[in-house]
């Protein structure tokens, strides 16, 4: 793996303004991760490590994709050894509360929400029907087999277009339709543009259905504090405070009597940490029984119960002039959301349409988006949600247009990029009702730097060289994309000196294994003016942190970092003021060290943080008319998201007889505005690429005609391993820091994934001379396409 990185002149002024003077820069350095010592020594604690002594839950899940529940008999299950309790929907208050949407609440979508346990109907294979609580998971699973459920099967529907047909089975009778949400986006006179076009190019592109499959599956431990005072839930992730609020609402408990605790988290990728049926059931059982109750999702459950994502059908048409100018884009995006609308509401449809235009100027745009309910596991977000799909569709459209017009695909892209002087640029689309306005970017520069970094000319020469054996075919392609970061506009941080005088940052953000402690510590240390090693970071425990949004949508660095920067900067000012008064020295002459404040140039005559904390004790402080303690809170808020952007490049060699795809070279160039820790950014890109590559070549949650999940284990749901993931040439650029955050960082979690499907599909199409229209590109599809056989 190679990484390169560069600093850019335009950023310098903003950075000077943003950065509080510090002896050596910490931001921008690949410091060692704060998280690693505990992980490497095996000292890190995951929620499954805590379940000793707790009762364990097994969930009986529907084996039918669509059925009426005529009766459930739990009597025999209750009599099994070790069984403490068996619950069905009727045992929950009012049959169980509806799990609400937390964002992107598209009107009408509320008709499709899920309850924790199926009441009278099941709508997907894996839907929770009953809960067994026993002294061990083994006994709970044994007993669950003894629950007799009388299912009356109903016709299922898994295809999204079939689900919209007039005679389709309707999943939610009250709604009377399987269309959960539909909306239109766009601007300009598209019809006129198409009428005036020299060329019209159309594509229909399907993206497979994916699972995020974090290495650690979901898990929860709920217990009552001794004395029955508070409910404590371990295993929170991603959106700790949001989920506490949801649980409090569903239980009818005050939030302050519920404590959520995040343990180490083995990956999230969007799926882990949302509020699922189990997030209600486990705490509910703990309250009902007055005992600790634990549940760890197994992988079989995970593939059926945790949010799926992708599964999109996009029809795109471009109107172009003969010399390759884009005049208009028309799109119909259809998203298979599965059996219920989950906590994300319409995030995926919204993001699909919002970022559809990419880095190009489309003078006219019309995009119709449909979110469709079917008898599959409910879907939510997964790394680059919506963008993976529509970047694939748009970049395929452009490749097809290039071949049709006889224009080089790179050149066609170059001719239509948004120019730097057009920034900030309204892309004509919208998300959740807000216009999408790109904050900054120099797309032409990124394109040229990216091509140089992957040595595009060398790849073209390689492409033109005949391979060693006649069955081998070579292809190359690039794909461009715009990502977004910082969804949900605010984050909380508190920077303080603890009672020993140690700097501690408490953040409302969360760890999903991405290194947020490290990045936030870098930002806070630099803003406070102390060494990186001196800063401790806490997050994820609602006892430590009163408020927060969490980690999703590439927001932990961009928003969490901004809040940390503000809180640390504020604390620096207070510390300096206090020290100046105490030492009777002007603030300008003071500097911070790991343990205190010293006078520049003077050998002694400083004051330690511990002394300052002591002087800020309640009695001393209020006697002086000062606020007690040394602690500063900040809520960072921004109206708008920021928009990182980049390029993927793939060079592949196919075996037309077996369908094997060998990746000769893969490159990603990504402008993240500012890389707080370049090595972590590179890790994000390479890891993201592994997941994007999986969707391009391997991963697909396949349902058979009876709506059963066929790829229901890792034997059939194929995630790429170290053998399949190539070395990646990563270029991190910092040409355009965002002005929408004091630290300039745009968020870097998703760009490694976003255009992977598009670039690989482009390269395979180039190799075959046949346009790829669906992912994943299976060996059989490749063999057939190479032979010129049409196949779906």
């Amino acid at each position: 793996m190679t990484a390169a990185r560069s600093k850019a002149r335009p950023a310098a002024a903003a950075r000077r303004k943003a950065r509080v003077a510090a002896p050596t820069p910490i931001v921008g350095r690949s410091v060692l991760r704060k998280e690693d010592p505990a992980l490497l020594r095996g000292a890190a604690r995951f929620v499954d490590d805590l379940r000793g002594g707790a009762l364990e839950i097994a969930i009986l899940r529907s084996p039918f994709p669509h059925a009426r529940i005529a009766a459930i008999d739990v009597a025999e299950a209750r009599r099994q050894p070790g069984v403490v309790d068996v619950l069905v929907a009727a045992d929950l208050p009012d049959g169980g509360p509806v799990i609400p949407m937390r964002m992107f609440r598209q009107p009408g979508a509320e008709r499709f929400l899920q309850r924790p346990l199926a009441t009278d109907r099941v709508r997907y294979v894996g839907e929770p029907v009953a809960v067994v609580v026993a002294t061990s998971r083994y006994l709970a699973e044994d007993a669950a087999e003894r629950i007799a459920v009388d299912y009356e099967p109903l016709d299922p529907v898994t295809d999204m277009e079939a689900a919209l047909a007039p005679d389709a089975p309707v999943l939610h009778a009250e709604a009377g339709t399987n269309l959960a949400a539909a909306f239109d986006l766009g601007r300009g006179d598209v019809d006129a543009a198409f009428a005036a076009a020299d060329a019209v190019v159309e594509v229909e592109i399907r993206c497979g259905r994916h699972a995020a499959v974090p290495m650690e599956t979901r898990g929860l431990l709920a217990r009552l504090e001794p004395g029955g005072g508070r409910l404590v839930v371990h295993g929170a992730a991603k959106v700790v405070h949001v989920n506490r609020r949801i649980l409090a609402g569903l239980l009818g408990w005050p939030e302050d009597r519920i404590r959520f605790v995040e343990e180490s988290v083995g990956g999230g990728f969007g799926a882990r940490g949302e509020f699922y049926p189990e997030d209600y059931l486990v705490p509910f059982c703990a309250l009902r029984l007055g005992q600790a109750v634990a549940w760890t999702e197994d992988r079989e459950e995970h593939l059926r119960a945790t949010n799926h994502s992708r599964d999109q059908l996009d029809r795109l048409a471009a109107a172009l002039t003969a010399d390759g100018r884009f005049l208009a884009l028309r799109a119909e995006l259809t998203i298979n959301t599965g059996a219920y609308v989950r906590t994300h509401g319409s995030v995926v449809p919204g993001m699909s349409g919002g970022l559809l235009p990419g880095p190009y100027v489309w003078p006219a745009l019309a995009c119709h988006v449909r979110q469709v309910v079917t008898n599959k596991t409910p879907a939510g977000t997964y790394r680059a949600p919506g963008r993976y799909e529509t970047t694939l569709a748009r970049e395929r459209l452009i490749d097809v247009a290039a071949r049709r017009l006889g224009i080089d695909p790179v050149e066609l892209r170059r001719r239509n990029l948004v120019a730097p002087e057009q920034m900030p640029y309204d892309n004509g689309s919208a998300t959740d009702g807000h216009p999408v306005v790109y904050d900054s970017g120099d797309y032409p520069r990124l394109l040229e730097r990216g091509l140089e970094h992957v040595v595009w000319e060398e790849l073209r020469a390689w492409r033109a060289t005949p391979p060693q054996r006649p069955e081998l075919r070579r292809g190359v392609a690039i794909a461009l994309f715009v990502e977004k970061s910082g969804i949900a506009q605010w984050e909380y941080a508190r920077m303080e000196l603890d009672s020993l005088g140690r700097p501690v940052l408490c953040s409302g953000s969360a760890s999903v294994g991405q290194g947020v402690d490290t990045v936030l510590a870098q930002i806070a240390a630099e803003a406070l003016g102390v060494p990186y090693e001196a800063v401790r970071v806490r997050h994820g425990d609602t006892d430590d942190v009163p408020d927060g949004m969490g980690a999703f949508g590439s927001r932990a660095t961009s928003l969490g970092g901004a809040a940390a920067h503000q809180a640390a900067s504020a604390l620096r000012e207070r510390v300096l003021e206090l020290a100046a008064a105490k030492l009777d020295v002007a603030v300008e002459k003071l500097e911070l060290t790991a343990t205190g404040v010293s006078v520049r140039g003077a050998r002694a005559a400083g004051v330690t943080f511990a002394e300052l904390v002591a002087a800020s004790g309640t009695a001393a402080a209020i006697a002086d008319g000062r606020r007690p303690g040394l602690s500063e809170e900040a809520y960072f808020r921004t109206e708008e998201m920021s928009f990182p952007y980049g390029l993927h490049c793939a060079a592949v060699e196919l075996d037309a007889e077996t369908g094997a795809v060998r990746i000769e070279r893969y490159g990603v160039a990504y402008d993240v505005g500012r890389a707080i820790n370049p090595q972590l950014v590179e890790g994000q890109i390479v890891g993201g690429l592994a997941q994007g590559l999986g969707g391009a070549l391997f991963e697909d949650l396949v349902y058979d005609d009876a709506a059963q999940l066929v790829s229901g284990s890792f034997m059939d749901y194929l995630i790429p391993t170290a053998v399949e993931v190539p070395a990646v040439r990563v270029l991190i650029t910092e040409d355009c820091p965002t002005q929408r955050s004091p630290i300039g960082a745009k968020g870097a979690g998703e760009g490694g994934t976003t255009a992977a499907g598009a670039a690989l599909a482009g390269a395979v199409s180039d190799a075959l001379g046949v346009e790829v229209t669906r992912l994943p590109m299976t060996p059989e599809w490749i063999v057939r396409a190479a032979r010129g056989e049409a196949c779906a």
Partner: protein
Amino acid sequence: MKPPPFDYEAPRELDEALALLAERGEDGKVLAGGQSLVPLLNFRLARPEVLIDINGVQALATLGREGTHLHIGALTRHAQAEHSSVVREQWPLLADALRWVAHPQIRNRGTVGGSVAHSDPSAELPVVLSALDARYHVRSARGARTLEREEMFLGQLETGVRPDELLCAIEVPAMAPGAGWAFVEYARRHGDFALGGTAVVLDVEPDGTVGRAAIALLGAGPTPLRAAAAEHALVGQAVDDAVAREAAALAVAEIAPTGDIHGSTEYRRDLIETLVGRALGVAAGRANGGTT
């Protein structure tokens, strides 16, 4: 993903194991490396009343040459056979095929006997042992038997080993001096069950013509298949591209691999044809000291 309840027995001696099998073999399963059985238990697809764990029966863990044959005790781990110098030098086809079995972690635990007794037609070992004309020694409290390939592999996950019997050892005849060999498979990911594959042995006469050919097919049917017609057609021929292609076409003329989401029957048949053609080329190149 927790197994249903089962009894557990862990004999230390072979006789003890055979006695347990005589008593409970009908409702029991032998546990060796557990790399297939334990997942089946956890998915509750297998529900034996008793597991007879033979990992303590050290007498079954022997590996080495006996006369001209290779003797593989059933409890020999994949990794042990893969790294054995005897196997590498004298049965290179076997050593090469073992590299394709799943992943190192699985090869450290999985046993040769377990793979044979599981009888998955997509597994490498039954195929390569079929190409090598291996024989299978089974024992029970009633006595000992030796099974040939056709007696051993009866169907998908079905063998000729009776419920009271234990597969104890596999005997692999010597490869002819100068024999050419190849193992070729294609899987979507390295370590997956292959979509198709083949193990080939060519004994080549001094004049360059094939004296004897063995072609075993992986994933071609419910058991490892030998492509008899293709083998026969190769005898007396010098293997070039055209000959290899013809033999490959013959090899798949009558197979109908089971299709699934990773590949249809037609794709798998064509794939195996391709791989047989390639394997024959590699084997011919290796024959009589060739280095291709």
